[in-house]
């Protein structure tokens, strides 16, 4: 069986299985097992693509090239580590009465279904199916965000549904316009919604329609990326849902939405032959960095704070892809990878920290390091990594983005630096007393999952010090695809 089929079949089967056995105590292990198998399948797929080049399978409905295979591997990996983290985390939540067996079943089943939607969105070649799977991912995460059934989580989920539903409707209109432009140029008999067909004919797509289509697609998928001013759903959904979900929202969903924007940008650039799409992305990116950085100053809830930090980093990536060119695209991809790893590690640490303190309010979390050094150090190192301290990988990618900004767009560099500086001050001042100082936190009933935190941070550290050769060629190839070559 082709590994691609396995990549879909495993999470789908997992979702069904857990819908039946999700109430049992062993379900958390089943969840880990399914996520691990998905990860293995994605490794096989990646190996196949690296050795054999891009593939087009199942009646050209699926297309895997260097750009998306690396995101498939990343998605499956973080999906797996998050399932490891949610094992003790959700168990403690259940002990505290926040989760009932039925809710656990919903949680596990939707978790696997969410993985399925993400992987489908990444590998599909059909721009319509891309939209459908993004919307389906919204639906599954809406259920996950509201799983505690508290007033606050219901409010967050409602807001998330309505805002993202409206946002993503724009993307559907953009897709319709794209289809309209494609119908005029793509030979009859070929499916005009397939990205590969569109890419082959992108030079002939009508520029007027394509520019309008890109505006709608950017606004639509940009809502899911969390670009300002469409970001309002994001902090609520991150703060009120279970922490493993915050980790996968930040680490995976935002990346996949950005991936959709990138695919559309490649087509638009080919049709317009100017920098229109890039300029729009630069504008949205810079705005997001600034809005998020200054919002960070007013945060009291730890998960809200780190979700604003996600908005900031998604802004930086959008900015990088907006600048374009080999270096900025390379840096953007590196930033996508390292941010996903680091931010999910932070959420793992934050989840346990908040459980220890019994609160997400930062003033009530104090002196983590005394009670559990591992969680404390995990949070501290993760914070330093996300703030762009060397030698972590975010330093390298931000450095590359800043230098290419100075070369190509000198006025934007100081704005970006200002955003980074404000974010640094805001986050560091708040995290420092949470980790050090007098303690206010208690021990947990089950040992916390420390391994995923340090596994992610270790990878982020490695990517900062040294990028392995095959990974490097991989990034370069993907950057070339984004450059439209």
């Amino acid at each position: 069986m082709s590994p691609l089929v396995l990549v879909f079949a495993i999470p789908l089967l997992g979702s069904l299985t857990l819908a039946f056995v999700g109430t049992k105590p062993f379900a958390r292990n089943v969840n880990v097992a399914f996520s691990f198998s998905t990860f293995l399948a994605s490794c096989f797929l990646t190996a196949k693509i690296i050795s054999g080049g891009s593939i087009l399978v199942l009646d050209s409905q699926f297309f895997i090239d260097s750009l998306n295979v690396f995101l498939v591997a990343l998605t499956a990996f973080i999906g797996f580590t998050t399932s490891v983290f949610s094992r003790p985390y959700m168990r403690i939540e259940q002990d505290r009465g926040k989760m009932t067996p039925n809710r656990m079943r919903l949680y596990f089943s939707m978790y696997q279904l969410f993985s399925f939607c993400m992987l489908l969105a990444l590998t599909t070649n059909n721009m319509g199916i891309l939209w459908v799977s993004m919307e389906a991912a919204t639906l599954t995460t809406v259920l996950l965000v509201s799983v505690y059934r508290t007033p606050a989580s219901l409010e967050a989920a409602w807001k998330y549904f309505i805002l993202c539903g409206v946002g993503i409707a724009q993307a559907l209109f953009g897709t319709i316009l794209l289809y309209m432009a494609a119908q005029k140029v793509i030979a009859p008999g070929l499916n005009p919604l397939l990205w590969t067909n569109l890419n082959a004919a992108k030079g002939q797509l009508n520029p007027v329609i394509m520019s309008l289509a890109f505006v709608f697609l950017l606004v639509g998928y940009g809502t899911k990326v969390g670009l300002a001013p469409l970001h309002n759903w994001l902090p609520d959904a991150h703060a009120e849902g279970p922490t493993p979900i915050s980790a996968v929202l930040s680490g995976l969903l935002l990346n996949v939405a950005l991936y959709a924007v990138i695919r559309c940008k490649i087509l638009t650039d080919g049709a317009l032959k100017n920098h229109f799409a890039g300029r729009l992305m630069i504008g949205f990116g810079l705005l997001s960095v600034l809005v998020a950085a200054f919002s960070l100053l007013r945060q009291r809830d730890i998960k809200r704070m780190f979700s604003y930090s996600s908005i900031e980093h998604m802004g930086i990536m959008t900015f990088a892809f907006g600048i374009g060119g080999p270096i900025a695209n390379f840096a953007g991809l590196l930033h996508m990878t390292v941010h996903a790893l680091t931010k999910s590690a932070i959420f793992f640490a934050v989840g346990h920290a908040a459980q220890k303190a019994g609160s997400q309010i930062m003033e009530e979390i104090r002196g983590l390091i005394k009670v559990s050094p591992a969680v404390g150090w995990g949070l501290m190192m993760g914070t330093l990594a996300i703030l762009g301290m060397p030698p972590f990988g975010i330093f390298s990618s931000e450095f590359l983005i800043l230098t290419s900004a100075m070369h190509q767009l000198a006025w934007a560099a100081p704005i970006l630096l200002l955003g980074l500086a404000v974010a640094f001050g805001a986050i560091f001042v708040r995290v420092q007393p949470m980790v050090f100082g007098e303690t206010s936190v208690k021990r947990l009933s089950h040992p916390p999952a420390i391994l995923p935190v340090f596994l992610h941070l270790g990878l982020a550290l490695m990517l900062g010090l040294y990028i392995p050769g095959y990974l490097n060629t991989w990034f370069l190839q993907a950057a070339q695809i984004i450059g439209g070559q």
Binding site: G128, E135, F161, A169, N206, V208, S295
Partner: protein
């Protein structure tokens, strides 16, 4: 395309726009559901005409799907919800109709201007339809923004989807079937989830007024 069918599609587009305005002005929840069903029916008619003229069989299927889903099933679910939640006679009180209508007119002008360059290019469609679809979409957005009750917000959301569907059929002769099925599935699941949410929201907040949902803010 023959003249008659062109006229027919234009007629349906105009009806759709009128219904969008009717929705914007309607205070009563039950009537909103009726308007939504009518909107679905208009879209079905337009799709069938396009299918007849272009001889595309898959458009008949998608018209049938729309008929079942948007004229019968979703309005039925909404009616049941309204009955079970006992909000049949609820009215939206905080609504200034004349000024919303005025803003609506500006939205229509804006939408037509936005779609103008594309309408000029298009050879296949009657030029106005894309503009009208965009206008209906914007009007539904506005309806969602101005309403504070949960069900009207959901109806606004659904009518955006209707406008998009109309854009797809009239401007491009329909998306491929697999995409349409996917969209229909998403919409249906979405309505179910929102329906479940409404019960939970009412349980927690003792009202379906979305303006209660304003606790999540920065301090």
């Amino acid at each position: 395309m023959t003249n008659l069918s062109l006229e027919l599609i234009n007629l349906f587009a105009a009806i759709l726009l009128m219904l969008a305005f009717a929705m914007l002005a309607q205070r009563r929840i039950v009537t909103l559901v009726h308007i939504y069903a009518l909107q679905g029916l208009t879209v079905v008619c337009a799709t069938s005409v396009v299918a007849y003229v272009t001889h595309q069989d898959h458009l008949y299927y998608s018209a049938a799907l729309t008929l079942v889903l948007k004229v019968f099933l979703i309005p039925y679910i909404l009616h049941r919800l309204i009955r079970r939640l006992d909000v049949r006679w609820d009215k939206e009180t905080l609504l200034n109709i004349p000024s919303t209508m005025l803003i609506g007119i500006f939205l229509v002008i804006f939408a037509f201007n936005l779609a103008l360059p594309i309408s000029k290019l298009s050879t296949s469609v009657s030029p106005g339809t894309l503009g009208i679809a965009l206008a209906c979409m914007l009007l539904s957005f506005m309806m969602m923004i101005t309403r504070s009750k949960a069900i009207p917000q959901v109806i606004g959301f659904l009518s955006i989807e209707n406008a998009l569907f109309f854009a797809a059929t009239s401007a491009t002769y329909g998306m491929p079937m697999v995409v349409e099925l996917g969209i229909a599935l998403d919409v249906l699941v979405g309505v179910f989830i929102l329906g479940v949410f409404m019960f939970q929201i009412r349980e927690q907040f003792e009202s379906l007024d979305i303006s209660n949902l304003e606790n999540l803010k920065e301090e």
